[in-house]
């Protein structure tokens, strides 16, 4: 397919084919995908869409093809390659400022990621449970002493992952306030592009100083271990560690915070689904997986570019063509899930969702995300049993315009 700006929507595949949709597409109901997704998913396993700069990309909307593309190394994650789709002007610059392994391909990707794999493996994350439990308890205790009604985003959904990732990375307690301030700008809808860019610069500068301090005195934390085991022997540069730290902070913070906000929303809308979770670990696990599937917070999609000709579900994608894998569409695929647009706690035998992606880039922090979701739910069910939503869904401000879906505010009566 030709790249470049085309002013009008024209059929790419020939006479009678539908016009090419602009992408991304807006939602109508905030908890459901854009209505066009269902039609596009029926149309073909890969459909052409038009990006902000007029370039074309293939949109993948089905669960099976999403898994196939994301686990196929003929699709590259390298944003600098020609044809790599971006969602807005300046996205390439933001990424290039501190490129991390999320934008790398094997073998470089593998080399960098494996430095972190032990930190995020299941056993290590399970060991964090008491600390996460304690943080949840403390935040809930503060809520009980604080104002009523309360914004649960500010009081619970944001601070839990912030404190958790800060503890994990080894951010000194006296730097927490700065850390929270620097990361908050990214998450605020009131931030202008200039403010976000400035905040990114400030965050990188602050991380640079923090990591330099750790190079002098590495402690017993993730950053300290990476300094001692990778930077000191020359396996990882200082700048690459700064980029890695920034990735972990953004990924461990923004994504989890929004998933926790939506978790609380789902819980408050239908507390009856969650009633037995304290006594039934399998139920709790099922609830967590269904929350992940239903909300699919990476709402635009995962971008890739083909580096060879590849056939996907019978559609030929040529080398150099961009691909966007919609996790949201794939997780609502009726071929994979019965009543996909409903929140159904028990889906026995259902294939695993792709909310964390798939392939070698699948979210490294997923065990930690699940742990935070579990502990948060257990805490609110136990300690805030009479909590209720202040507003109906229609009046809650959602982050429809951001890369990561969520709620800006979630007011509740405790």
């Amino acid at each position: 397919m030709p790249q470049g700006s085309e002013a009008s929507e024209t059929a790419v595949t020939g006479a009678g084919a539908p016009a090419v949709c602009p992408f991304p597409l807006p939602r109508q109901y905030p908890l459901d995908p854009p209505p066009e997704f269902a039609r596009l998913r029926e149309q073909a396993p890969a459909v052409p869409v038009r990006m902000w700069d007029g370039g074309r990309a293939w949109l993948i909307t089905r669960h099976a093809e999403a898994r196939a593309v994301l686990s196929d190394t003929r699709f590259s994650s390298d944003v600098t390659r020609p044809g790599f789709p971006t969602y807005y002007e300046g996205q390439r610059v933001v990424i290039a400022e501190a490129p991390s392994f999320i934008r790398a391909d094997p073998p470089e990707h593998s080399r960098l990621r494996r430095m972190l794999t032990p930190e995020f493996m299941l056993r290590r994350v399970e060991a964090m449970r008491p600390a996460v439990h304690e943080t949840v308890a403390r935040l809930i205790a503060d809520i009980k002493q604080g104002p009523d009604p309360v914004d649960l985003v500010r009081a619970l959904a944001l601070p839990l992952p912030s404190i958790t990732v800060g503890r994990m990375l080894g951010i000194p307690e006296d730097e927490y306030e700065i850390f929270q301030k620097l990361t908050a700008v990214n998450l605020s809808r009131d931030s202008t592009p200039e403010e976000t860019e400035a905040a990114t610069g400030d965050l990188l500068a602050w991380l640079d100083a923090l990591i330099s301090a750790k190079e002098r005195h590495p402690g017993d934390d993730l950053l300290g271990r990476l300094v001692a085991e990778q930077v000191a022997p020359g396996l990882l540069s200082h700048d690459d560690l700064v980029a890695m730290a920034r990735l972990l902070i953004v990924a461990g913070h923004e994504t989890t915070a929004n998933m926790l906000g939506l978790t609380l929303l789902s819980y408050l809308r239908h507390p009856e689904h969650f009633a037995g979770i304290a006594d039934d670990p399998q139920l709790l696990d099922g609830v967590v997986e269904e929350l992940l599937r239903y909300h699919s917070i990476i709402q635009i999609g995962l971008a890739r570019v083909a580096i060879e000709d590849v056939e996907v579900g019978g559609v030929l994608i040529r080398s150099g063509e961009g691909v966007v894998v919609s996790l949201l569409a794939a997780n609502r695929d009726p071929r994979t899930y019965e009543n996909p647009d409903e929140f159904v706690v028990a889906r026995p035998g259902a294939p695993r969702h792709v909310a964390f992606g798939f392939g070698v880039h699948q979210c490294i922090g997923q065990a930690l995300a699940r742990l935070e979701m579990r502990e948060l739910l257990l805490g609110v069910v136990r300690d805030l049993p009479r909590m209720s939503l202040l507003h109906p869904v229609e009046e809650i401000p959602f982050r429809g315009e951001m890369t990561v879906h969520g709620v800006h505010e979630l007011w509740a009566r405790r």
Binding site: S71, R114, T117, M121, R352, G359, Q362
Partner: protein, 48 residues
């Protein structure tokens, strides 16, 4: 490891390790799930 912890585990470096090369018949469903879920496609099932 989530799907079939008696068959798969994670070594200290985080890479998957196989505990039982021939899993028992009653774990077959869960081993299939583990193979399906494995994001790096590190697990393959072969008939004996």
């Amino acid at each position: 490891m989530l799907a079939a912890p008696e068959v798969f585990d994670q070594a200290e470096d985080g890479l998957v390790c196989l505990l039982r090369e021939r899993p028992p018949a009653d774990s077959l469903e869960r081993v299939r799930t583990a193979a399906y879920d494995c994001p790096s496609r590190a697990i393959a099932l072969r008939a004996p």
